[in-house]
Subunit: 336 residues, 4 copies
């Protein structure tokens, strides 16, 4: 059950509501976000919802039977829009393109990608500076200095940054240089990281786990929201399967299902989803038609020389064609 | 290695080629289809391909390193087109819609579906008369009498029929009443059935196994082709996975990958692929954008009363909207 | 609901029971096996079970809520024992070893394996004569002539034969030469084959599908039983998964779960279950401890020269050690 | 390539080796653990290994082609033994039993479990105080105060503690109160946590990811070792699959495969591996026979009242029987 509190509710009024919730045997979790003030009440007993709904300080009250609550579309029907500033808004009705290399490599590379994005009117650049790698001996990214360089070039060009955060202690050092924190598949149930990102208030793109369920993804988002941050987008990036013809199984079923279950934006990552450069375009277009609110993919000036993920990275020419086609597909979808 | 023989090659000339192939230590499989005459030579030794290529009776010769040969696009670049007659052609450049109920139930139902298809200019109706069911006590379909009724109504209305065949002994009794034999997911490696369908010459839609690999699907198609039948289309229908939010994982990655590996048409079944009626439309549209040559889906006048699969069956109103949108998406794709 | 009929129930008495079952809105399936005569009544309405139970001709009546009925342990608590003759009995309390090559290759090979089995007091030899192969160009087995040779040597030496049947039409030609029909993973939902094996009365070893569920395996067994054959054993042989370090995932969880759900014997195939010769022994021993009633594995006089599956086949020395250890492990288990 | 340095190698001698490694185009990673001092050299070029091997300060040199190096059995043949003190040693030749509740609940519970373990001569107790939970609203454990209480009771009774650590910042506060840090399945690729546990020197039990590969598990262990900690054990705890009859698929194939690939001890968690109390015993015994060096399972004085995981937790009576049987099975295995 979600109890939406009135803005600026006095402490004693709030306390009174807490007591009432406890009185019916429910556990109350207070949630204060950028946008609202809620009590999430967890329990199983049946009771007359009006006994709480009529209390002073209660703006509204909803029953939500899902395990996740605040991110449920049963509660909030209107879609969440995430404003990155400068007119860059992510969410239903928009189509957000996020492109860039797997890893940030050097200044020249960033400049080339930024130029490519600007020419094509793309507003968000992806690029990793902290890289999760299976082997401890592999390249782990340029780190915080790479991020500062990344930020300097992008901010000078009006480009927003999305980049992966891997642990709680990185949030503080990164926060001034990123526009969206990405949580990778391997950290999709790193609950301490999710808690801290909830407190951090910056927008978060949360990737589905390597074999994460829809339910787990939604509950992971609930961690962030319930810690105070409503600015969450979900990302389908392929799940692990038995098939050896491609890297992962891009599970586009997830797109319409997530769109129905939650008010959060849904983004698709076709690069990891299929893992083969030649097929990034058809899978991106399929994602648009499945209902995605955006696509995040890997591009590089010379994919064959990329530090990582070259085999799934498109070059700028392919990227340009992809951008144009995705926009046409989105236009068709919006005008159905 | 595929050795394409000249049409009407005399027996002794052919025998001579066979001997030459054996002479280099290869095993030769003779394949005679509706459209051509081939030797598929299997072996590992290296040799000068011209020694065979220059023999009398050899029209052309190709090395194909894939495990499957005759269906490989490395050999035959131009796409296979399957002509069902009356201007109904399946394959690249066309977009084939196949719709109808899970099970054929009665005359009235067939008439209603046929009427719905005609209004929407859909030329192929699906409908099962032999139903594979997990439980021996479940409804197993109307059988051959149902098929005759199905055929009578469809042929009177210019509608082609696709229906599932489950065993070798059914081929002969069904063959005059079907336009396309469907091989279901459970029979995707029923090799005797594939052999016999190769001999039967009717077009075949071959579904991917419940957790079949791309390689297995292609090799299953090779069974049919190498027994004499080139009229094969492949169907992605969802694979089994851990996710409980939907019935199967519609693996659209398979579409562009199959399109590159084989010259055969690729069809998508979104109804089984996601298993939930509300999401059939977005997944169908995604399939179009991924590059599918057609879609096969379930529709019924009253899905909630269908004998089987009602939860994944759209009604006629939904079906009509879906048809229109798929055609628009296909038009966009063809004009990119 | 299972209604056990009295032996030799007169036609009119039986008819009367049928009518009563229909009268309460249930569908009645008559099942007559080697051992009993039953009506399986399928329906959902609630009714007083005594109204049927007290009818003349009814020996006993049971409610079984599982989807499968006759193979359920909820109905029949005592384990099924399958007697192959000459004192060879499969089922709880026994531990059955079935060993032999993947494919029957020639007379000499059969003789060597038979000799190895006799020395180690193993009574059942496995060996394929009809081989399901992914590629149409691969070796498909020696066929019926190979089976006759196989049978001649084994019967002369008191060894029972288990071999795979792939299609309905093979049953009749094979039946006199086999002791147990094996249904392979790819045919685990070939329902026509299961129906026919139900009528055929010979013992059947039914393998779990490549990614078959426990429920599907049990329902497939119900097909056989409900067509008249109680002599069924189930076989866990590994399921398909994402792991590349071995061929399949041997799912030993299935063993205790199946043992609880059904009265049928449960056999494990470690050779396909892990697919690597070196690990066949530990997985076989694990299978014994998990509660298996037997193990079926591949052995060959020279695994590296086997026509098929050599990489997962143990040699006779390894086989002998394995047999001794499995028997010790079984003895320990029985004496816990 | 692993270069084992002589103990107490002087800085300049070491520097010289570094230079030589760089000189052949390899990247050198220095690793200093409790037990040794190594350079792990990563590169692809071919060179004469003796050119490095003969340098002053080099004790030994090994080529290891695996992606993981220091944990490979190709390099170190003798098994790793982990000594927890007081005669409690984990690793080949021993059989370690670790038992206790999913969550530490209160003093009384700890005392009851400790008493149960002492009676049965079990030396290691498991119990979570920081609990990873899918939902943010679920019980997350008693935290550090719970751990202190847990430690007080166990240390007074000679029982060692294994408990889960979820994030870097917990290591320091926990380290004095634990004997083995457990890394849960969700954190199996939390590389920062692995790095820090490498530095922390305490023994670590590393669980396989929810759908982790053998290769990923081994590389995760390499993270810990290469950061300075050799005291690592690996844990198979079931992988995610499509089967709904049990919680996970206990992949016992992993046991013999891991035992061959690495010198680290391999532990099995049957409680999570099958997720159903009744089957914990057969799966534990199967694990012993598959070659496990130990088993970790959940037990509670009243499983039906446990705060979490009650459905997969055995009571003390079942636990006692299990302990006895595992020891007998281990004895049989050791005496084969």
């Amino acid at each position: 059950m979600i109890i939406q509190l009135q803005q600026g509710v006095p402490a004693d009024v709030k306390e009174n509501i807490f007591e009432a919730v406890k009185g019916i045997g429910y556990k109350a979790n207070e949630v204060k976000t950028q946008a609202g003030h809620y009590l999430v009440a967890i329990g199983k007993k049946d009771f007359d919802i009006r006994s709480i709904g009529q209390l002073p300080g209660v703006a509204d009250i909803y029953r939500v039977s899902d395990e996740y609550k605040l991110i449920s579309r049963k509660w909030r029907v209107e879609p969440t829009l995430i404003d990155l500033g400068d007119g860059v808004v992510i969410g239903e009705g928009n189509f957000s393109i996020m492109a860039g290399p797997c890893s940030i490599e050097n200044e020249r590379q960033i400049e080339l990608v930024v130029e490519h994005l600007k020419v094509n009117n793309v507003k968000i650049m992806r690029g990793g500076v902290f890289k999760p790698r299976s082997s401890p001996y592999a390249f782990r990214g340029l780190g915080i200095d790479g991020l500062k360089m990344f930020h300097q070039i992008c901010s000078a060009n009006g480009i927003k940054i999305i980049t992966e955060v891997m642990q709680v202690s990185q949030i503080e050092e990164m926060i001034d240089y990123v526009d969206v924190f990405q949580v990778g598949a391997r950290n999709s149930q790193n609950f301490n990281l999710l808690d801290s990102l909830g407190e951090a208030q910056k927008p978060v793109l949360l990737k589905r786990g390597i074999s994460g369920t829809i339910e787990e993804l939604l509950q992971a988002a609930e961690y962030i929201f319930s810690n105070g941050n409503e600015k969450i987008m979900l990302c389908e990036r392929g799940i692990r399967g038995y098939e050896k013809a491609y890297r992962n199984i891009l599970d586009l079923n997830a797109v319409p299902v997530l769109k129905e279950k939650t008010h959060l934006p849904v983004i698709v990552d076709p690069s990891h989803g299929i893992g083969l450069r030649d097929y990034v375009e058809p899978m991106s277009l399929a994602a648009v038609m499945a209902g995605a609110d955006g696509v995040i993919y890997e591009t590089h000036q010379k994919p064959e020389e990329a530090f990582s993920d070259g085999q799934q990275t498109v070059n700028f020419q392919e990227s340009e064609r992809l951008i144009k086609r995705m926009r046409k597909a989105f236009e068709l979808r919006e005008n159905f």
